[in-house]
């Protein structure tokens, strides 16, 4: 059994610098700062916005940041030495579930409509795209934010679920989140998968259509995590635990105070509040016309044990990396060891108390199509569904 929080361990280091990329899901760090949760833990935190995921990672690796708001697969990729640096990183806290969407240009949307018998949404939208690609050789370009990102794997998963080979039938490129909408509007790309508010911005601007959310592709999937280097975690267990408690508390506050959350986000992202609030309030207009889709789980910061870094999440991400040939030269047992080393639910339990958190580290991803109940020491915990768009259940 995991012990209850060790309130006795003071932070080894109180002045901490945390990096983030301005996106709706950096809110747990912003809220913990603005609401004073960090300072109540005895921490003096400075937050620094980064312009790229690469520089965020570099600064974490070389020690300019103590911790960072990071793409979940980047923790695994950096620990495996893929893409430049090789440095053991770990996460003890998922910052949010969901928050991404696939957006296509207005003209692509209109072409998809001619190939669809259903509304152009979800799996049907990917199937319409597959049909379009069979009839029309015009090359299409889709963008994601980084080669090692949930966006990249979600987009590929959605495409492949309709039988599209993303490497042969499309061109996939990397773009900075804030450049996506602009590139779509200028006709340089035909679609993208990105986090909010950059989907809603294209919809609000009248030049983009959301055709699937990340939640449609894999329900309640992990998005950003709080990443630290393994060295840092070993040297600063008290500071780490204090950070985790503050962020865990901020997540709970964010789930309960969505309008105030929008106000906090306004200071971070130069996008009108009426666009910022869409995902936070779970009312997501899909296109310039037509009703909004109500999606309560559009962005989840706390409920469903959202902060627990499930090892089954790490395995799913590693499986996608292998599927798309990013793990060449990495054995199955090495990848498995990375999942255990990088995803540390035990550290979160030790920091915030294991009572209200699941006692298990893995769940059967894809097997829960509805809400379900998980027993914890503090009583039954409502968990969210975790089905995949093609109905596949990962083996336990």
């Amino acid at each position: 059994m995991t012990p209850e929080p060790e309130s006795a361990t003071p932070p080894e280091k109180a002045d901490l610098c945390l990096g983030y990329v301005p996106l709706s899901d950096c809110l747990p760090l912003v809220a913990a700062q603005q609401l004073g949760f960090f300072s109540e833990e005895g921490l003096r935190v400075s937050l620094k916005a980064e312009a790229s995921w690469a520089s965020l990672r570099d600064r974490l690796v070389i020690g300019q940041f103590d911790a960072a708001h990071m793409l979940a697969p980047m923790v695994l990729a950096t620990s495996l030495g893929l893409g430049g640096w090789e440095k053991p990183l770990l996460t003890a806290c998922v910052l949010n579930l969901n928050g991404n969407a696939v957006t296509v240009s207005r003209s692509l949307y209109q072409r998809l409509q001619t190939h669809a018998s259903h509304p152009v949404y979800g799996l049907a939208a990917a199937q319409a795209l597959a049909e379009l690609l069979r009839h029309d050789a015009t090359p299409l370009t889709f963008a994601t934010v980084f080669p090692f990102s949930s966006h990249h794997y979600q987009l590929r998963y959605w495409l492949a679920a309709a039988g599209i080979d993303p490497d042969r039938q499309l061109r996939l490129i990397t773009l900075h989140p804030a450049q996506m909408a602009d590139h779509l509007q200028r006709g340089l790309i035909d679609g993208y998968c990105v986090g909010e508010p950059w989907n809603s911005l294209a919809v609000a601007g009248g030049f983009g259509h959301i055709v699937a959310t990340g939640h449609d592709i894999w329900q309640n999937s992990p998005e950003k995590v709080l990443a630290v280097t393994a060295d840092w975690a070993a040297r600063h267990p008290g500071s780490h635990a204090a950070l985790l408690r503050a962020i865990h508390r901020a997540g709970r506050w964010l789930d309960e105070n969505r309008r105030q959350a929008t106000a906090l986000l306004q200071d971070v992202i130069p996008v009108p509040p009426r666009v910022l609030e869409r995902a936070l309030l779970g009312e997501l207009p899909l296109g310039p016309e037509g009703p909004a889709r109500t999606l309560d789980d559009c962005l989840v910061f706390h409920r469903y044990a959202a902060n627990l870094p499930w090892r089954s999440h790490a395995r799913w991400l590693l499986a996608q990396m292998r599927r798309w040939n990013q793990l060449q030269g990495v054995t199955v047992s090495d990848a498995d060891a990375i999942a255990l080393a990088c995803y540390r639910p035990d550290i979160l339990r030790a920091a915030v108390g294991s009572g209200a958190l699941p006692e298990i580290d893995e769940k059967c991803e894809g097997s829960h199509t509805e809400h379900w109940i998980l027993d914890t020491r503090a009583g039954p915990l409502t968990m969210g569904p975790d089905a995949l768009i093609d109905g596949i259940v990962t083996s336990e």
């Binding site: 520089s55 893409g83 640096w85 980084f146 340089l188």
Partner: protein, 201 residues
């Protein structure tokens, strides 16, 4: 200094600080490089690279284009392009760490023109070395994979047609020549067909 017998290295500068970019462009020209394009990060780097095909891209460490460049250079989806980065006030240890990590990225302290040229040279040399290694590794992998495909097709032919090894191999080679295909591609087709009909008597 670049070799005067070859064409000058074509450099693309990405910097949101125009004054700094102008200064760097001047010192690069003085060192014999050709700065083919100077742009800020809002211009869509990928398309600019495709259009201008530079040998080297120099980018500010703080640029949002870094993720695009990392995808381009490390994952090699597009044209191989060495990437050099600079940032004022960077620590010497940062440079060393970046170099040790094998990233073709170098952080230049300030913009001393004297230092730009050697850093470019080293960055490009290391990048080419890295690309050559990658290519070699990929070729070895491909060769191994192709050899095992051919072996597998041959074994299937031997067992299903009751041929000896030589007959099976010659049949495959003839098919490859007739169809102007590579032996590995023919092997792949044979495996697909024979595995499909495997249970037939």
């Amino acid at each position: 200094m670049p070799d005067s017998n070859t064409s000058p290295l074509r450099v693309m500068l990405v910097d949101d600080a125009p004054a700094r970019a102008a200064l760097l462009e001047q010192s690069l020209s003085d060192c014999g490089y050709q700065v083919i394009c100077r742009l800020d990060s809002a211009r869509g780097l990928l398309y600019q690279v495709e259009q201008h095909r530079p040998d080297v891209v120099i980018v500010d460490l703080e640029s949002p284009e870094r993720d695009v460049l990392e995808d381009m250079s490390l994952l090699n989806h597009h044209h191989p392009t060495a990437v050099v980065m600079f940032a004022a006030g960077a620590q010497r240890t940062d440079i060393e760490r970046a170099v040790r990590a094998g990233v073709s990225a170098y952080v230049v302290d300030g913009l001393d023109p004297q230092r730009v040229s050697p850093i470019l040279e080293v960055a490009i040399a290391r990048f080419r070395e890295y690309q050559a290694l990658r290519r070699e590794l990929q070729e070895t992998r491909n060769q191994l994979a192709e050899r095992s495909l051919v072996e597998r097709a041959k074994t299937l032919l031997m067992s299903q047609r009751q041929w000896d090894e030589k007959t099976a191999y010659h049949a495959m080679r003839k098919l490859a020549m007739d169809r102007s295909q590579r032996l590995a591609d023919v092997a792949r087709d044979i495996i697909a067909v024979l595995e499909l009909t495997h249970d037939d008597p």
